[in-house]
Amino acid sequence: MIKFVGKFIKKVFRDIFRKRKALKIGLYGPPNGGKTTLANRLCLDWLGEEMGSVSNIEHETREVQIKERITVKKDNHELSFSLVDTPGIATKIDYEDFMKKGLTESESKKRAKEATKGVIDAIRWLDNMDVVIVVLDATKDPYSQVNITIIGNLAARDIPVLVVGNKTDLRKASIKKIKAAFPQYEVIGISAKKGTNMEEFYESLFVVAG
Protein backbone atom coordinates (compact mmCIF):
# COMPACT_ATOMS: atom_id res chain seq x y z
CA MET A 1 0.00 0.00 0.00
CA ILE A 2 2.78 2.43 1.00
CA LYS A 3 4.65 1.44 -2.13
CA PHE A 4 1.55 2.15 -4.21
CA VAL A 5 0.98 5.58 -2.61
CA GLY A 6 4.66 6.40 -3.12
CA LYS A 7 4.44 5.45 -6.79
CA PHE A 8 1.27 7.51 -7.19
CA ILE A 9 2.83 10.62 -5.64
CA LYS A 10 5.94 10.19 -7.82
CA LYS A 11 3.74 9.86 -10.88
CA VAL A 12 1.76 13.01 -10.03
CA PHE A 13 4.97 14.99 -9.56
CA ARG A 14 6.42 13.54 -12.74
CA ASP A 15 3.30 14.54 -14.65
CA ILE A 16 3.43 18.10 -13.28
CA PHE A 17 7.07 18.63 -14.12
CA ARG A 18 7.03 16.77 -17.39
CA LYS A 19 4.34 19.14 -18.67
CA ARG A 20 3.57 18.33 -22.28
CA LYS A 21 6.95 16.82 -23.15
CA ALA A 22 6.66 13.38 -24.78
CA LEU A 23 7.25 10.46 -22.44
CA LYS A 24 10.56 8.75 -23.23
CA ILE A 25 10.92 5.05 -22.56
CA GLY A 26 14.45 3.69 -22.88
CA LEU A 27 15.56 0.11 -23.49
CA TYR A 28 18.75 -0.61 -21.55
CA GLY A 29 20.80 -3.70 -20.84
CA PRO A 30 23.86 -5.76 -21.70
CA PRO A 31 24.61 -6.63 -25.35
CA ASN A 32 22.54 -9.39 -26.97
CA GLY A 33 19.82 -9.34 -24.31
CA GLY A 34 17.21 -8.61 -26.99
CA LYS A 35 16.62 -4.85 -26.66
CA THR A 36 16.21 -4.34 -30.40
CA THR A 37 14.16 -7.54 -30.77
CA LEU A 38 11.77 -6.17 -28.12
CA ALA A 39 11.79 -2.73 -29.80
CA ASN A 40 10.92 -4.41 -33.10
CA ARG A 41 8.14 -6.43 -31.45
CA LEU A 42 6.70 -3.26 -29.86
CA CYS A 43 6.89 -1.33 -33.13
CA LEU A 44 5.42 -4.20 -35.13
CA ASP A 45 2.55 -4.55 -32.65
CA TRP A 46 1.64 -0.85 -32.61
CA LEU A 47 3.14 0.78 -35.70
CA GLY A 48 3.30 -2.12 -38.11
CA GLU A 49 7.00 -1.64 -38.87
CA GLU A 50 10.33 -2.71 -37.37
CA MET A 51 12.83 -0.44 -35.64
CA GLY A 52 16.35 -1.83 -36.14
CA SER A 53 18.43 -4.78 -37.28
CA VAL A 54 19.29 -7.68 -34.99
CA SER A 55 22.25 -10.05 -35.08
CA ASN A 56 23.76 -12.90 -33.11
CA ILE A 57 27.04 -10.96 -33.02
CA GLU A 58 27.14 -8.69 -29.98
CA HIS A 59 26.92 -4.88 -30.29
CA GLU A 60 24.70 -4.86 -33.38
CA THR A 61 23.06 -1.63 -32.14
CA ARG A 62 25.86 0.92 -31.82
CA GLU A 63 23.85 4.11 -32.04
CA VAL A 64 20.90 5.31 -29.98
CA GLN A 65 17.70 4.78 -32.04
CA ILE A 66 14.44 6.64 -31.43
CA LYS A 67 10.95 5.79 -32.59
CA GLU A 68 8.51 8.58 -31.85
CA ARG A 69 4.78 8.58 -31.19
CA ILE A 70 4.07 4.97 -30.28
CA THR A 71 0.63 4.54 -28.73
CA VAL A 72 -0.16 1.36 -26.83
CA LYS A 73 -3.85 0.73 -26.16
CA LYS A 74 -5.15 -1.59 -23.48
CA ASP A 75 -8.82 -1.79 -22.54
CA ASN A 76 -9.80 1.88 -22.16
CA HIS A 77 -6.29 3.12 -21.51
CA GLU A 78 -3.74 4.64 -23.85
CA LEU A 79 -0.02 5.18 -23.39
CA SER A 80 1.87 7.38 -25.87
CA PHE A 81 5.66 7.55 -25.80
CA SER A 82 8.91 7.73 -27.73
CA LEU A 83 10.85 4.49 -27.63
CA VAL A 84 14.63 4.82 -27.29
CA ASP A 85 16.68 1.73 -28.16
CA THR A 86 20.22 1.98 -26.81
CA PRO A 87 23.49 0.15 -27.53
CA GLY A 88 24.34 -2.68 -25.15
CA ILE A 89 26.36 -1.70 -22.10
CA ALA A 90 29.52 -3.74 -21.51
CA THR A 91 32.63 -3.56 -19.36
CA LYS A 92 34.93 -5.05 -21.99
CA ILE A 93 34.85 -4.78 -25.76
CA ASP A 94 37.43 -6.85 -27.63
CA TYR A 95 37.66 -6.94 -31.43
CA GLU A 96 38.93 -10.52 -31.29
CA ASP A 97 35.48 -11.64 -30.05
CA PHE A 98 33.95 -10.30 -33.27
CA MET A 99 36.62 -12.01 -35.38
CA LYS A 100 35.63 -15.32 -33.78
CA LYS A 101 32.12 -14.69 -35.14
CA GLY A 102 33.47 -14.31 -38.68
CA LEU A 103 34.13 -10.59 -39.09
CA THR A 104 37.42 -9.41 -40.60
CA GLU A 105 40.04 -7.72 -38.41
CA SER A 106 39.28 -4.24 -39.71
CA GLU A 107 35.50 -4.77 -39.44
CA SER A 108 35.99 -6.03 -35.89
CA LYS A 109 38.16 -3.11 -34.81
CA LYS A 110 35.66 -0.66 -36.29
CA ARG A 111 32.80 -2.44 -34.51
CA ALA A 112 34.72 -2.34 -31.20
CA LYS A 113 35.34 1.39 -31.52
CA GLU A 114 31.71 2.11 -32.43
CA ALA A 115 30.46 -0.16 -29.63
CA THR A 116 32.58 1.75 -27.08
CA LYS A 117 31.16 5.04 -28.32
CA GLY A 118 27.71 3.39 -28.10
CA VAL A 119 28.18 2.58 -24.41
CA ILE A 120 29.10 6.21 -23.68
CA ASP A 121 26.11 7.47 -25.69
CA ALA A 122 23.70 5.07 -23.95
CA ILE A 123 24.87 6.34 -20.55
CA ARG A 124 24.67 9.98 -21.67
CA TRP A 125 21.06 9.43 -22.76
CA LEU A 126 20.04 8.02 -19.41
CA ASP A 127 19.23 11.44 -17.97
CA ASN A 128 16.66 12.04 -20.73
CA MET A 129 14.62 8.95 -19.84
CA ASP A 130 11.30 9.01 -17.99
CA VAL A 131 10.99 5.23 -17.74
CA VAL A 132 13.53 2.47 -18.43
CA ILE A 133 12.91 -1.11 -19.49
CA VAL A 134 15.97 -3.17 -18.52
CA VAL A 135 16.20 -6.09 -20.94
CA LEU A 136 18.13 -9.09 -19.60
CA ASP A 137 18.91 -12.42 -21.20
CA ALA A 138 17.07 -14.85 -18.91
CA THR A 139 19.45 -17.68 -19.84
CA LYS A 140 22.38 -15.79 -18.28
CA ASP A 141 23.42 -15.14 -14.68
CA PRO A 142 21.67 -11.89 -13.65
CA TYR A 143 24.34 -11.01 -11.06
CA SER A 144 26.68 -9.26 -13.48
CA GLN A 145 28.50 -5.99 -12.96
CA VAL A 146 26.68 -4.50 -15.95
CA ASN A 147 23.19 -5.40 -14.68
CA ILE A 148 23.85 -4.27 -11.14
CA THR A 149 25.47 -0.99 -12.24
CA ILE A 150 22.61 -0.15 -14.63
CA ILE A 151 19.85 -0.94 -12.14
CA GLY A 152 21.71 0.76 -9.26
CA ASN A 153 22.13 3.94 -11.29
CA LEU A 154 18.47 3.96 -12.33
CA ALA A 155 17.49 3.72 -8.67
CA ALA A 156 19.89 6.57 -7.80
CA ARG A 157 18.33 8.74 -10.52
CA ASP A 158 14.81 7.82 -9.38
CA ILE A 159 13.79 6.56 -12.83
CA PRO A 160 10.92 4.02 -12.83
CA VAL A 161 12.14 0.60 -13.98
CA LEU A 162 10.56 -2.47 -15.53
CA VAL A 163 12.87 -5.49 -15.68
CA VAL A 164 12.29 -7.87 -18.57
CA GLY A 165 13.73 -11.39 -18.62
CA ASN A 166 13.91 -12.13 -22.33
CA LYS A 167 14.43 -15.38 -24.28
CA THR A 168 11.97 -17.47 -22.22
CA ASP A 169 11.57 -19.66 -25.33
CA LEU A 170 15.01 -21.10 -24.52
CA ARG A 171 15.23 -24.03 -22.11
CA LYS A 172 17.97 -22.48 -19.95
CA ALA A 173 15.88 -19.36 -19.22
CA SER A 174 15.09 -18.66 -15.56
CA ILE A 175 12.89 -15.74 -14.54
CA LYS A 176 13.13 -16.92 -10.92
CA LYS A 177 16.84 -16.07 -10.81
CA ILE A 178 16.19 -12.53 -12.11
CA LYS A 179 13.38 -12.03 -9.59
CA ALA A 180 15.70 -13.20 -6.80
CA ALA A 181 18.43 -10.82 -7.99
CA PHE A 182 16.18 -7.75 -8.24
CA PRO A 183 13.31 -8.35 -5.80
CA GLN A 184 12.37 -4.67 -5.55
CA TYR A 185 11.38 -4.50 -9.24
CA GLU A 186 8.57 -5.75 -11.40
CA VAL A 187 10.08 -8.61 -13.45
CA ILE A 188 8.31 -9.93 -16.56
CA GLY A 189 9.42 -12.99 -18.53
CA ILE A 190 8.92 -12.72 -22.28
CA SER A 191 10.16 -14.01 -25.58
CA ALA A 192 10.43 -10.91 -27.74
CA LYS A 193 11.38 -13.09 -30.70
CA LYS A 194 8.29 -15.33 -30.45
CA GLY A 195 5.99 -12.67 -28.96
CA THR A 196 5.29 -14.74 -25.84
CA ASN A 197 3.69 -13.07 -22.79
CA MET A 198 3.52 -9.65 -24.44
CA GLU A 199 0.08 -8.99 -22.93
CA GLU A 200 1.51 -9.19 -19.43
CA PHE A 201 4.44 -7.04 -20.56
CA TYR A 202 2.09 -4.28 -21.79
CA GLU A 203 0.09 -4.46 -18.56
CA SER A 204 3.27 -3.95 -16.54
CA LEU A 205 4.33 -1.12 -18.82
CA PHE A 206 1.03 0.63 -18.04
CA VAL A 207 1.67 0.22 -14.32
CA VAL A 208 5.25 1.52 -14.44
CA ALA A 209 4.84 4.26 -17.08
CA GLY A 210 1.14 5.06 -17.13
Partner: protein, 131 residues
Protein backbone atom coordinates in the same frame (compact mmCIF):
# COMPACT_ATOMS: atom_id res chain seq x y z
CA UNK B 1 50.11 17.70 -11.02
CA UNK B 2 52.61 17.35 -13.87
CA UNK B 3 51.48 16.98 -17.45
CA UNK B 4 53.40 15.41 -20.27
CA UNK B 5 53.03 16.51 -23.87
CA UNK B 6 51.62 13.69 -25.96
CA UNK B 7 53.64 14.62 -29.03
CA UNK B 8 57.13 15.42 -27.74
CA UNK B 9 57.04 13.99 -24.21
CA UNK B 10 58.13 17.24 -22.50
CA UNK B 11 56.98 17.61 -18.88
CA UNK B 12 55.22 20.74 -17.65
CA UNK B 13 54.73 21.58 -13.98
CA UNK B 14 51.37 21.94 -12.32
CA UNK B 15 49.83 25.37 -12.94
CA UNK B 16 52.14 26.07 -15.89
CA UNK B 17 50.33 28.69 -17.97
CA UNK B 18 51.55 26.93 -21.12
CA UNK B 19 49.07 24.13 -20.43
CA UNK B 20 45.92 26.07 -21.17
CA UNK B 21 47.11 29.12 -23.06
CA UNK B 22 49.83 28.43 -25.56
CA UNK B 23 50.20 24.68 -25.74
CA UNK B 24 53.57 22.94 -25.80
CA UNK B 25 56.58 24.46 -27.57
CA UNK B 26 56.21 21.69 -30.16
CA UNK B 27 52.71 22.97 -31.06
CA UNK B 28 50.68 20.16 -29.47
CA UNK B 29 47.85 20.90 -27.03
CA UNK B 30 47.26 17.37 -25.87
CA UNK B 31 48.61 16.28 -22.50
CA UNK B 32 49.13 13.10 -20.56
CA UNK B 33 48.26 13.53 -16.92
CA UNK B 34 50.92 12.02 -14.67
CA UNK B 35 50.58 11.43 -10.95
CA UNK B 36 53.58 12.77 -9.00
CA UNK B 37 54.47 9.40 -7.54
CA UNK B 38 54.52 7.75 -10.93
CA UNK B 39 56.36 10.49 -12.78
CA UNK B 40 59.74 8.78 -12.56
CA UNK B 41 58.17 5.53 -13.63
CA UNK B 42 56.40 7.29 -16.48
CA UNK B 43 59.65 8.76 -17.73
CA UNK B 44 61.22 5.38 -18.12
CA UNK B 45 58.15 3.43 -19.14
CA UNK B 46 58.15 1.40 -22.31
CA UNK B 47 55.07 -0.28 -23.65
CA UNK B 48 54.77 -3.09 -26.12
CA UNK B 49 52.69 -0.91 -28.43
CA UNK B 50 54.22 0.08 -31.75
CA UNK B 51 54.16 3.76 -32.79
CA UNK B 52 51.49 2.83 -35.38
CA UNK B 53 49.32 1.25 -32.66
CA UNK B 54 49.71 4.31 -30.44
CA UNK B 55 48.74 6.60 -33.32
CA UNK B 56 45.75 4.38 -34.09
CA UNK B 57 44.57 4.42 -30.46
CA UNK B 58 44.85 8.20 -30.35
CA UNK B 59 42.90 8.51 -33.61
CA UNK B 60 40.20 6.12 -32.31
CA UNK B 61 39.75 8.11 -29.10
CA UNK B 62 39.46 11.43 -30.92
CA UNK B 63 36.80 9.85 -33.12
CA UNK B 64 34.90 8.33 -30.18
CA UNK B 65 34.74 11.56 -28.22
CA UNK B 66 33.93 13.48 -31.39
CA UNK B 67 36.67 16.02 -30.80
CA UNK B 68 35.76 18.88 -33.07
CA UNK B 69 38.44 21.35 -32.08
CA UNK B 70 41.93 19.81 -32.08
CA UNK B 71 43.26 23.06 -30.60
CA UNK B 72 41.37 22.51 -27.34
CA UNK B 73 43.80 21.70 -24.55
CA UNK B 74 43.27 18.22 -23.17
CA UNK B 75 44.05 17.56 -19.50
CA UNK B 76 43.70 14.21 -17.85
CA UNK B 77 42.51 12.50 -14.67
CA UNK B 78 41.22 9.10 -13.48
CA UNK B 79 40.51 6.66 -16.27
CA UNK B 80 37.05 5.42 -17.22
CA UNK B 81 38.09 3.65 -20.42
CA UNK B 82 41.32 1.73 -20.79
CA UNK B 83 42.55 0.79 -24.24
CA UNK B 84 45.07 -2.02 -24.20
CA UNK B 85 45.56 -2.07 -27.95
CA UNK B 86 43.55 -0.84 -30.96
CA UNK B 87 40.11 -2.48 -30.80
CA UNK B 88 40.40 -3.63 -27.17
CA UNK B 89 38.48 -1.51 -24.70
CA UNK B 90 37.89 -2.00 -20.97
CA UNK B 91 35.17 0.22 -19.54
CA UNK B 92 34.78 1.26 -15.93
CA UNK B 93 31.00 1.60 -15.75
CA UNK B 94 31.00 3.11 -12.28
CA UNK B 95 33.15 6.00 -13.55
CA UNK B 96 31.11 6.33 -16.74
CA UNK B 97 27.79 6.52 -14.88
CA UNK B 98 29.17 9.14 -12.50
CA UNK B 99 27.77 12.39 -13.85
CA UNK B 100 30.34 14.58 -12.13
CA UNK B 101 33.39 12.77 -13.47
CA UNK B 102 34.81 13.34 -16.95
CA UNK B 103 35.18 10.46 -19.39
CA UNK B 104 38.86 9.61 -19.48
CA UNK B 105 40.59 7.23 -21.85
CA UNK B 106 43.73 5.46 -20.80
CA UNK B 107 45.68 5.08 -24.01
CA UNK B 108 48.58 3.11 -22.63
CA UNK B 109 50.49 2.97 -19.37
CA UNK B 110 50.64 6.50 -17.93
CA UNK B 111 48.90 8.13 -20.92
CA UNK B 112 45.38 9.51 -20.82
CA UNK B 113 42.90 11.49 -22.88
CA UNK B 114 39.82 13.24 -21.58
CA UNK B 115 36.45 14.02 -23.16
CA UNK B 116 36.76 17.80 -22.94
CA UNK B 117 33.53 18.96 -24.66
CA UNK B 118 31.47 16.62 -22.47
CA UNK B 119 33.25 17.75 -19.31
CA UNK B 120 32.72 21.42 -20.08
CA UNK B 121 29.05 20.73 -20.69
CA UNK B 122 28.79 18.94 -17.34
CA UNK B 123 30.56 21.78 -15.55
CA UNK B 124 28.22 24.29 -17.16
CA UNK B 125 25.22 22.28 -15.99
CA UNK B 126 26.65 22.02 -12.49
CA UNK B 127 27.42 25.76 -12.51
CA UNK B 128 23.87 26.58 -13.56
CA UNK B 129 22.48 24.43 -10.79
CA UNK B 130 24.49 26.33 -8.19
CA UNK B 131 23.26 29.73 -9.40
Amino acid sequence: MPHQCVRCGKFHDDGDSTLLQKGCSCGSRLWFFVKKESIDKAKTITTSLTPEQKAQIEEDVLEIIGETNPDEPVVLDLESIRITEPGKFELDLVQLFNKDKPIVFKLAEGKYMIDIPETFQRRRELGEKHK
